[in-house]
C-alpha cells in the first residue's frame, strides 16, 4: 500500500545464504507455508518461499516473512552473488486484519469504492457463496483483501507488460556507445537488469496468491480452492485506497 514505507537493502556478494533444500518442482513452488488449514491460530512470523526454474533451489528465489504487526521482510535471491532485501513497514494508522475496526473500515470503503469499481459486487457475490465468510463478522474484510490482491495482480501484470514494451530502449542505449568494449559491457548490463526485473515480477506474481490465501485462512480458518479460483477470474481496474483510522 502506498503509505507503507519500503526500505531496500542491497547486499552484494556476501548475501545471506537463504537457500533451503527444495524438492524438484515446477516454475514456481511453495515450500514452507506455516499457515495451514488445520491451524486457525497463526504462527508468526508467517513464512513463504517461492522459487523459479525447473530445479528448485537452483534459480531465483523469494523468501517472505510477515510478523503479527504486519511488517513484511522480502528477500529476493536473484543471482548467486546478489540478493535484495525489502522491508515493508505497515502504516500504524491502518488497523490489523481480523479486527472489528478493520471490518468497519472495509465495509465503509466497499460502499464508496463500488461506485467506481463495479466488479466489487462480483467479489461480494463469491464471498457470499462461502458460508464461513458469510456467517463470520468479517465478510467485508475478506472482500477488501480480495480487492487489494486482485489490484496487486493487475499491477504486476502491467509491470510485466511494461518491461516487454520498454525493450526497444535497450538497443538505442547500446548503439549510442562507440567503444566496442563499453558497448558489450552496456549490453550485458541491460540484459542483467532486464533479467532481474523480470525475475522479481515473476516471484512477486507467485507470492501474491499465497499471501492472500494465508490471510484468508487467518481470517476465516479455511479458504476453499473453488472460491479462490472464482476470485481469480474477476478483473479489478482501480487501486484501493488505504484503510486509515479517522
Amino acid at each position: 500500500m502506498s503509505l507503507c514505507v519500503g526500505f531496500y537493502l542491497i547486499i552484494k556478494n556476501n548475501g545471506p545464504d537463504l537457500r533451503v533444500p527444495l524438492p524438484d518442482g515446477g516454475a514456481s513452488k511453495k515450500v514452507d507455508n506455516v499457515n495451514s488449514d488445520e491451524s486457525r491460530k497463526e504462527k508468526f512470523p508467517v513464512r513463504r518461499v517461492e522459487t523459479l526454474g525447473a530445479l528448485a533451489g537452483n534459480g531465483p528465489m523469494l523468501i517472505s516473512e510477515e510478523s503479527e504487526s504486519g511488517l513484511v521482510t522480502k528477500t529476493y535471491q536473484l543471482t548467486p552473488s546478489k540478493s535484495i532485501t525489502e522491508v515493508v513497514v505497515p502504516n500504524p494508522k491502518v488497523p490489523l486484519l481480523g479486527s472489528v475496526e478493520y471490518e468497519a473500515l472495509a465495509k465503509q470503503d466497499y460502499f464508496e469504492a463500488i461506485q467506481v469499481e463495479t466488479n466489487l459486487s462480483e467479489l461480494k457475490e463469491i464471498f457470499e457463496d462461502f458460508p464461513t465468510a458469510k456467517q463470520s463478522e468479517y465478510l467485508y474484510s475478506g472482500i477488501r483483501e480480495a480487492y487489494v490482491f486482485k489490484s496487486r495482480i493487475r499491477q504486476l501484470r502491467d509491470s510485466d507488460f511494461l518491461l516487454s514494451a520498454d525493450q526497444w530502449k535497450g538497443p538505442f542505449e547500446i548503439e549510442a556507445i562507440s567503444n566496442l568494449i563499453e558497448r558489450e559491457l552496456k549490453a550485458r548490463q541491460i540484459k542483467d537488469r532486464l533479467d532481474e526485473d523480470m525475475n522479481r515480477i515473476l516471484l512477486d506474481k507467485a507470492d501474491a496468491p499465497e499471501r492472500f490465501k494465508q490471510r484468508m485462512v487467518r481470517l476465516y480458518g479455511d479458504f476453499p480452492k473453488p472460491i479462490f479460483q472464482r476470485l481469480m477470474s474477476i478483473d479489478i481496474f482501480t487501486e484501493p485506497r488505504e484503510l486509515i483510522r479517522p
Binding site: G26, A165, Q229, R230, M232, S233
Partner: protein
Amino acid sequence: MVMDKRFLIGVVVCVLVFFAGWWWGFESPIRLGVVESTIQNESQSNTAVTLSRITKVDSELAGSVASVESNPSEVEGITNTYIFSSNHVVTRVVIPNPEFKIFGTSQFESLAKTQFENLTINSKYLVDTNLYELKEVFKDFPAAMNSHFLYSGIYQVAVTTCTLEEVRQLIFNTRYQAMRDLEEANTITDAAERESKIERIKALAGAQLELYKSIQQETLEDGRQNLIKLYGELPKPIFQRLLGIELRLPMGRLPYP
C-alpha cells in the same frame, strides 16, 4: 503467439482500415448526431468459436458513440464494422480456425484429447500443471463429465483465457503507445498544432481501447456460448473457476487439415 494467426490478421486489418479512415477523415466536420442502435447479426454457424456478438461501443475519448454492424461473411467467419463517427470506421474480420468447423463432434474431441495428452502425460517438456487444474474443475461439473466432450471444453477454455490475456496486452500497449505519443506531442511549440495533435492521439487511443474492450466481451461470450453448446448449461461459478486458471502457454492449433 497466443492468439491464432487468423485472428491477429483480422485485428491488423481492422487497425489499418482504422488508421486510413482516421487520417483521411479526421478533419471532417460531419459527425453522427444521433446515437445509432446497435445492429446485431449473429451467425448461426456451429463451427465458429470466435464469431462475435456485438455490443455498442461507447467511447468517451472519441467523443462519439460507435455503432457496430456485424455481418456474416458469405464464405465463413464474420465481418464487424465499427463506426466511431463519420469517416471513422474499423472493420474487423474474424475467420474461425478450420478445426472449429467440427467443434462439438467426436472428431474434435479426439483431436483435443490428443493435444491435451501431448502437453501433459506425453510431454517431453515441463508440464503446465494448470492444464490438470482445468480438468479438475470440469470434474465438479457433472454435465461435462457425463458428456463426451470433456477435452473439447478444456480446449475451448484454453482458447478463451489465452485470447483474453493477449487482448489485455493489446490494451496495455495501446495505452503505452498513447503515452509516448502524448509526450512527443507536448514538445510541439505551436499551441494550436499541439492541441490538435493531442486531441487526435487521445481520440485514436480511446477508439482503439473501446475496440479491444468489445473484443474482450465477445471473447468471453463466445467462449461461454461454445461451452453451453457442448454441455447444454454452464453454471456461473464453474465458468468463473475455469477463467480463473491462467495457462502459461496456449494449447496450440489442433492438427486439422
